[in-house]
Symmetry: D2
Subunit: 341 residues, 4 copies
């Protein structure tokens, strides 16, 4: 069946499979001590600006959030996120499982507003009983957000400035990073992301890999004995080279960004299809996730012919549906959808 | 370089890569809700005896141990293991990270002795202050063990009987399960393992898969909302079908056991090579891990030509080296080794 | 200095000190295995209605919340509370430290509204991705609330009905229970509290004891091996009899309720003083905590002569101050305050 | 009944009760922000040598161990202790509950032997797979030990030297500190303990207080925001002054050491009683805990007339019993015991 359900429904970009095949019988040491992983890290480091960059390859997004947040937070700290942030909603309490609170701030279209962050921090320290409260120790944002929106360079800079004032790291969840950076509305490169954050990750799972997320520490701030902390959380892949090969491929000849751009282009086509058919959008998303308002009766009909994500109710008569493109979406898929609509 | 370093140094058995390739562009739902995963679970269920069997697919071994142990233990309980058990030594404290103590009992050649287990439990409950101590809530053993040894059916039955008396589950770490069951010394099938335990896992990572461990709950005892508990621990793979395809392949036409048997056969060849050259064994292992006593000078020479694991010092003059075969070891590898020795 | 800062500023009701003195040199077993503790539990059990009641004595409120919530929640569950709930704000993340999320719902004057709870639960289970979210496993409310307000019997019954529908326990934080039950607006007894909840605690720290909170499991639902779970959390007092003696005293001849009523009477006097002086109240509290709106200049003057809690800003010119009475507040204190105002 | 069961069977040294009485109606701020706590900390600081000393007052021993160890350990670290260490046996897994492993080393009569510690650390770092293991991050010892034995200054210095070489803190559990320091075999003062450790605590619960343990950070190394970490663990007493008054009393006019010496003197009397009657000792303890080998039949008879702790079986015919004196043991108690024996 035609599917716009998500960006993790298909396998991997063909070049990755080819290289897995080629390297298959080569024996290498485990746990990332192999030439593919070294090469991948080197390429990512270079792409992100070089100096002070340190890279680790993990398996999945929730895992990466939990590993990074729990190793960077101090005992008495929690992590600030918008209420719709992935760590606050759809990770089954993975952050709390590590003993830390998610400090939720109301977001706007999925984004953290710098002035709201400032207000939160000022109010916190103005409260004389703050030592009995969870001390904010990190800011978590997603780029793009769970609503497909992206921060401008100015917005990100403003947030990062506040973080630096309060001496708390800024962590960017980049599960869909490529789709954000390749958006036509984006005014940032991966080097900007690297400059304007303390740690972020480059999503592979949703952007062309079978799985894998590349964590980038940007300011020579990789936690000490990080491999042991990863192992302790059951997050160290034995055959690390499978991750190495994938990211080495994605960061060869700009592949990661090329396939991301492709998804953005099909997303634009998809938007146009809906627009032409007179549909309204729940949110104006410039990335690969599109949120469409659809009459409930139509939803029932559509469901038989195309897969999507039911996002919630818009009102009594209409639902919000999410349609997502990816590196593997083709113009044929869009054509099929046009017919169905 | 020639490598007998471990059984996770190469990729996957070729059939797996072929099927990943074939399914690559097919869109399926995520998180294991796909036909490959369903099929894999069904085949594993059948292989294990059917009734009461429930299967989940996870990514890695330490992760699986942590997920299973921490969801089955009650708040006030710990898990019994031999001192050399993987969870007690080489998982960076992953069990303790979940808030539970590993209760270590001295093992014999890596195995838990039933009478030692009994003594431990009797002594525990004879101690009037036991409510101030960690209450034993599970028994963990490895099959084969970290020393390559295996339990006989009688030995396993004896342990399981004690577990049932004390009403605590028996959990078998089967990271190398295939290599244990295909050992010429084994008197058990996977159905026996299933009968004589409450939960175990079928190692994929070390037995032909890129990664993956299949957890088998054997007595209709899968924890409620287990998917949420897996997600909470960052252990739920988004593209679950990658796991599904791998285990579906391994459990089609007995492939898992065939490639395991192959590794045992090359292990026997390897043993013979060492024996003929006059080497002594640290332990008499009937599986794919072999522990050889080697003169320290020879170790230095060997290191240049072949990869192995340095296991520890035997005495001032000699070391213990571990040589491991796997599904991907060939007779050519053995021949090469013969020349080197 | 005159103090209305809180209800934990003085020591213990004199009878408690007297009995500690009398029992001082008597040797008893530790950890609650003593006749005083047994007697205290028996008296509390009787006061709460007898059948199915089980009692444990702990040291402090945050500790009690963490112990009860973390032992009753299942692995994949979180606890629902209003946003102003003590566990959500002023316990430094003690619940999250146990690995569980606090699921915050907007409250009304500190109270959870039954219909809001219902809506939350309905929406949760209507979301098809709920297995990726923290499953609500308990409802936590405070009686009286952090704003001094109390639930009517009807309101509590409505909440409890919903809990029973969803099969999740209702836990009442009774750190100030006596002050709630003795309020002139209260239409409930401790037996009602016991009937309409699964577990609650009777605050001693704020109601006449040096310290101590009596946890009451009301439906034969005390967790198995609860003492071990308490010990594991460092919450088991060695000299348990110190707790036993205090609660035995408080539950002899209705003392707990008598001293609570006294605090309510002085709170009424205090309210009248402020009213007569023309002050406005931030909230209409029928218990021992009073929230007064005070001009910022006046706040500065007052601070020199009387201790209170600064609760927050009301607007640019006015603050909210909290004045609290307790078992140890006297009419002389109120007279002094009158002069100061 | 006559009791030598433990040193936490009676209440508090009378001066403490007197001062609690005197301060009872004085209103002070909570959580340790009161003049009694300040005074107590100052006196302890002075007693311990002054410079660099920082003091916190907690409620109980297991709680203190968990708070100190879990706030000082880094994410990837565990704590070394002898197998008989309190944290390894009788705290229901409180350390593991905080996510950290106790790394047990075989002790000698309850003591950690410096050369064993050295060997453990050398072997650990010689293992090439150590990053997959729990990294030793602290050494925990008890003074006196769980067997009543004490370290000499030379022994403690040797251990501390190793800790400094490996840059890991040394933590001394001083639940019975006074009884150790006042032992006739002791060649150390509290200033020595302070010099030769990074953190230790002064047990109040077992040495004259109703409850309370004073944590002493000795090298300006108190963790940042420690109060928040204490609160997060439910270990912050609301009426902090109850702790303050107790330790202020104990550290006025040397009271802590005087009552400790008294317990040692009655322990000597008790030893003599057993010696004269021909009993043998399981261990030669120079402190207030005595371990006597008693014929099983005699055990049954004794049990009717005197309380003690059954420590374990010596052989088929004999048990090991523990008899403990304390600040509240009198010569009359010893006389009574003589008659019974």
């Amino acid at each position: 069946m035609l599917s716009f359900e998500s960006d993790y429904t298909t396998g991997a970009t063909p070049k990755i499979l080819k290289r897995l095949q080629e390297a298959n019988l080569e024996a290498t040491s485990g746990y990332g001590n192999d030439r593919y992983t070294r090469s991948a890290k080197e390429k990512i480091k270079k792409a992100c600006g070089g100096k002070g960059i340190e890279v680790d390859l993990l398996v999945g997004g929730t895992q990466t959030n939990a590993v990074v947040i729990s190793t960077l937070l101090k005992d008495y700290e929690g992590v600030i996120a918008v209420d719709s942030g992935h760590i606050n909603v759809h990770e089954a309490g993975a952050i709390e499982y590590t003993g830390h609170k998610v400090l939720a701030i109301e977001g706007k279209e999925g984004k953290l507003v710098a002035s709201d962050l400032k207000k939160y921090l000022e109010k916190f320290y103005a409260d004389s009983s703050y030592t009995h409260m969870v001390i904010p120790g990190m800011v978590y944002i997603s780029y793009p957000t769970e609503y497909g929106t992206i921060y401008t360079k100015k917005e990100l800079s403003d947030i990062y400035k506040i973080c630096k004032t309060y001496k708390i790291p800024l962590f960017i969840d980049g599960a869909r990073l490529g789709y954000g950076l390749m958006s036509k509305k984006s005014d940032m490169s991966i080097k900007d992301i690297s400059k304007l954050s303390d740690v972020f990750y480059i999503g592979g799972t949703k952007v062309g890999a079978l799985f894998g997320e590349a964590v980038v520490f940007t300011k020579s701030n990789r936690p000490k004995n990080f491999v042991t902390s990863i192992k302790k959380r059951g997050a160290l892949l034995a055959k690390g080279k499978i991750l190495g090969i994938q990211f080495d491929t994605l960061f060869t000849n700009n592949l990661y960004f090329e396939i991301s751009r492709h998804a953005i282009e099909t997303a634009e086509e998809l938007k146009n299809v809906f627009k032409k058919k007179g549909y309204r959008f729940y949110i104006d998303s410039p990335t690969n996730q599109q949120f469409i308002i659809v009459d409930k009766k139509k939803v029932a009909t559509l469901r038989k012919k195309v897969a999507f994500t039911w996002w919630g109710e818009y009102d009594n008569k209409r639902d919000i549906l999410r349609f997502v493109t990816s590196w593997s979406t083709t113009s044929e898929h869009i054509d099929e959808l046009t017919k169905i609509l």
